[in-house]
Chain length 178, copies 2
């Protein structure tokens, strides 16, 4: 709190005329980020009809939110553990709901014959894992912009590494990095 006050140019005690407690900051960051992720995801789902299209848009939306504010993303991804009840449970429920959207897209894809996976929940978790790690290395000044990161991730997750068949996904903006 002293560091924060210092960055704001005020005394530490003065922070408490703006917020109730240190945890309130954590709560605000966690739930604001959750809202942003949901809004981006819902837009993605609404603009596409195929499971493949929805998944690609959902990945792009997630990467967009994640890279827009890496500091807030790190809090959203890791620090929610320190939320007190009932916020902790509430946050976990939101997280599960978000994951559920991905599961549903994958399930739809499997039913329509677009996808083939051993386990939808596992697939959803793996996709989100690959996505969520980027905040540890992403730098806004780096040479790969968010849209291209999303493109590459979609290609890898949809087609895998294998070179046996023609690529099923050939995005308009297919870019080779490096």
């Amino acid at each position: 709190m002293r560091d924060l006050a210092n960055a704001l140019g005020i005394e530490a005690a003065s922070i408490y005329s703006h917020i109730k407690s240190k945890e309130e900051i954590l709560q605000r960051v966690c739930f604001r980020m959750a809202t942003e992720f949901f809004e981006a995801l819902e837009t993605a789902e609404a603009t596409e009809t195929t499971a493949t299209g929805q998944l690609r848009r959902a990945i792009a939306a997630h990467v967009q939110v994640l890279t827009k504010n890496t500091a807030a993303s790190a809090v959203f991804l890791h620090e929610w553990r320190h939320l007190s009840e009932p916020f902790h449970s509430e946050f976990l429920a939101l997280r599960d709901k978000y994951e559920g959207h991905f599961r549903k897209i994958i399930k739809n894809g499997v039913e329509k014959g677009e996808f083939e996976v051993p386990d939808e929940k596992f697939a959803a978790l793996t996709i989100l894992s690959a996505l969520n790690w980027i905040h540890t290395w992403y730098k806004p000044e780096g040479k790969m912009p968010p849209a291209e990161i999303a493109e590459n991730l979609s290609a890898m997750l949809l087609n895998g590494l294998r070179a046996t068949e023609p690529r099923a996904v050939t995005p308009l903006t297919r870019v080779h990095a490096t």
Copy 2:
């Protein structure tokens, strides 16, 4: 340190007759885990000749180490940030070297025509991301054993979600979870 002492059944001050500082514990955990990851990876590389085989073994080895001790893995994955110099730099160098092994396997695969990826570094990072996230949800008592997790991850990362072609990887122990 008080909690640790409590768990050990001794006084907090007594810990310091075993270690020099709190950070020494962090250093030991981080570098011991690094060694374990390297040993497992080298064994994996030595037992296979194709890039596909090596990658599948490397994934299995990584998952094995990660799930064997989830607490130590979490420290290895996140807390290394608090290492002081020169340990911090030394750790980062090891991490980059480890990542380099994965990059090389992928590069070999591309050259031999087994893989097709836009960017080897990006592919290596994505694979490790998908792998490293499992420590956040893995429970030893859960119904998916480490070998099956590795199997599913290999299948997803090598073939993707797409159902357009016959599966290129058909592991001996292919299991459908859930």
